[in-house]
Symmetry: C3
Subunit: 205 residues, 3 copies
């Protein structure tokens, strides 16, 4: 179970970092810029969450390997992305799946931390959403774009919101050590996200 | 007295959130984007202040109702702003008045917190200004604009600065429980702001 | 020794603030905007570092004079920059030298604080880099530019990285009170930066 969650988390960080790297390459940044954007995308949401609820030390300070992992990824990707400017549909789909998994997991973890810190339930849901989406917002701000999910969201933040809400509700009925709320949150956010991509559902009004 | 301050605070949050909503609608954001920008505009300044002086828990985590209030406002405004793209002069004036009240109150509260935390007086004034104006700066950064008050300020930050300075000076002569410094700060920032709008005073040089 | 470091620090803050002022003037900001950008450029990196490792009170809250010093600089510079839109080569070179000194010192101080806070060595190096370069990133984000050093870096962040890495390595072999790691970090970042400007070395690939 633990190993599964760890795997999903790493895949989520991987997917988030990759979206940062792709955006940085589009903006013709060099390796340092690429690494910075990848770091911000992968860790921005969790860092803001930790600052908001005074959760020290920050999660990526403790996970020594993550920053080095993303450095390796940035260096590696630069050689890959030199040759291939666009991706095959299957790669795009794989990235979307990883990203959706990461979104669900980050939301669940964020909500969980906020509840532990005694935050009011609605605000805990918001912190779940912040954890899930803020990295992408920062990526777009640094790359000088209007945050993409603000414009054509395909329910991105909404998936995070629904997942976090489910987590908060279930957390009332299950003991703290149960992983059921966590799994439900990830599953809800993931499935909703995949459906909204497939059918291009948007909240545009 | 307490009730009056609470009312002004809610009106200030209301006005700040509205300016965020209007800007988000201009950028054709969806409901999630609109809500996000409204939250950032209303709570950005106070959040940065709390982070800078390690004032935990953050003020909006304790005031459970504010985030829900802004959610309602965002949903509601989207229907209003669909039909009316521009505002009548009286609505613009009302928003300006609320915004000026909020600016004064946020500045006073920010300076007050900073002094309580033992911050040096000049830095306490700066934190008052940060509390008053940072939400608007964040709004403009997220919406990919050069912060509007940096360009054509009509004394926006200056009003906050003068109010905060008056607060710091008066705080030396009145007991902690006195509301006189608070009221003076709000009044000074408010009046200066209204005058500068009316006569279009700018510090452009 | 202390006096020398203090002098370098002030020169570094001076140089960073100046780059912010120049950028703000280019964007035709008024005095408040100029002061804000100068403050963010000079203190942004150190502030983020302090938030990330929960190092309170923030460094510029304790150094009362710095914000007032930058205020004076902003007011003063506005009169200077009115007349001279461009700079003579010797002024540009002087600014570059000061900036490189500041970059080295900020990196060293940031890494040093991070190590003291028990941060893992690679993350301490990253915090050194954040301290050195984040002020400039914030300057560019506020001024609505893609951060300049992400695009044409001339090894800017790399100099900070190398300096911080040298600091971490030497900190293992010298007692805490030794200034040798600090001096080595500053020297390495400074020399590498000057060389990379002179020969226009870039990591563009």
């Amino acid at each position: 179970m633990e190993a599964l969650l760890k795997t999903i988390e790493i895949l989520g960080i991987f997917a988030f970092a990759i979206t940062g790297i792709i955006e940085a390459r589009r903006k013709q940044m060099d390796i340092i810029g690429t690494y910075s954007v990848a770091m911000v995308t992968a860790f921005g949401g969790g860092t803001l969450r930790d600052l908001l609820i005074a959760h020290y030390p920050l999660f990526w300070m403790q996970n020594y390997n993550y920053p080095i992992f993303i450095l390796a990824l940035s260096v590696f990707s630069i050689f890959i992305l030199r040759k291939k400017e666009s991706f095959s549909p299957s790669v795009v789909m794989l990235l979307g799946v990883l990203d959706a998994l990461g979104l669900g997991l980050f939301s669940a973890v964020g909500t969980s931390y906020a509840l532990s810190a005694g935050v009011y339930w609605f605000n805990a849901v918001l912190i779940g959403v912040i954890t899930g989406v803020f990295g992408g917002v920062m990526r777009d701000v640094i790359c000088n774009e209007v945050p993409v999910f603000f414009k054509q969201s395909q329910l991105y933040a909404t998936c995070s919101f629904v997942g976090s809400l489910i987590f908060v509700i279930l957390a009332n009925y299950f003991p703290v050590e149960s992983v059921f709320p966590l799994i439900s949150c990830i599953a809800a956010a993931f499935i909703l996200r995949i459906i909204s991509i497939k059918y291009n559902i948007q909240l545009k009004f």
